[in-house]
Symmetry: C2
Subunit: 174 residues, 2 copies
């Protein structure tokens, strides 16, 4: 396992955010400069592999990794945010939760048509948020060339939700 | 002005988030890799100047800058989040808004007693959020050695709210 240090730092929090869910807490990775550096370095390598021209990060933990990857690769960083947070003109995509619907937004001037974009987030669970992020990027005419996550919860089958999209995850839990 | 490029990229959004407020939109800075690199570089220089041993970033835009500064300085990154977002044991501090009260939280194991901490956020407005962040850090026995922001809204007198705290802002609007 290449990311055995990262994996060993991620801690299980039972019953968060609600009973029966085991939450994967990545804050100990952020507290460990070498591990954090390694994670960002590998995500940046992936962004280079897919020849990304911009990095889109999903609020909030995707900001932590995505902005660092953008800096590392000298690429523009595009924040994808919860509704009502971005001040300029936005487009919105909804995605389903276990109960109800959520949404994310992107500025209409965040990307150019044809631009190659990598989507960054901390966690690939069901893939609903990432799929909505991909739809946002495509609505601006840009091209999603890949998606990269720190953690994959394999049993939630997020890769299936992202279909034909190239996906890289550094640590997988089954 | 050292940060004339940064300043020129920040755009005014009138009547956001509500009528009469002019919002300073920093997303064009994030879209400009040289400007973003420069901002993070100067924030990191400040963190080194005050001999910080950890970087605390305030959700959400503080994550974008704070995590990058932590990486740059090879320091632990501590996320300060909105209520209910951090999965482990937390402490909470409230701060006043124009109407009502808001709160932020930090993990109880995020910092060690005596650790030198720099607080990072994008914007110093009234200083209410930053003051609450400083109280969180101090409750864990750690030492806030400074606070650094991209933008200062001078007319809101945030520096006064932070009293004796060393503060650095890269761009100031009066």
């Amino acid at each position: 396992m290449e990311h055995s240090l990262t994996q060993s730092l991620i801690r299980d929090i039972p019953d968060f955010p609600k009973p029966g869910i085991v939450f994967k807490d990545i804050t100990p990775v952020l507290a460990h400069p070498d591990a954090f550096r390694r994670v960002v370095g590998d995500m940046a390598s992936y962004a280079r592999e897919v020849q990304a021209e911009a990095v889109a990060g999903i609020e909030s933990r995707g900001f932590i990794f995505g902005a660092a990857v953008a800096l590392e690769c000298k690429l523009p960083f595009v924040p994808i945010r919860k509704p009502g947070k971005l001040p300029y003109k936005t487009i919105r995509e909804e995605y389903e939760l276990e109960y109800g619907v959520n949404a994310i937004e992107m500025h209409t001037d965040a990307l150019k048509a044809g631009q190659r974009v990598v989507v960054v987030d901390d966690l690939l669970a069901t893939g609903g948020t990432a799929a909505a992020a991909i739809r946002l990027v495509r609505r601006l005419g840009a091209d999603v060339v890949g998606a990269v996550f720190v953690v994959e919860l394999g049993f939630l089958r997020g890769r299936a939700a992202l279909k034909d999209m190239p996906v890289r995850c550094l640590v997988r839990f089954d």
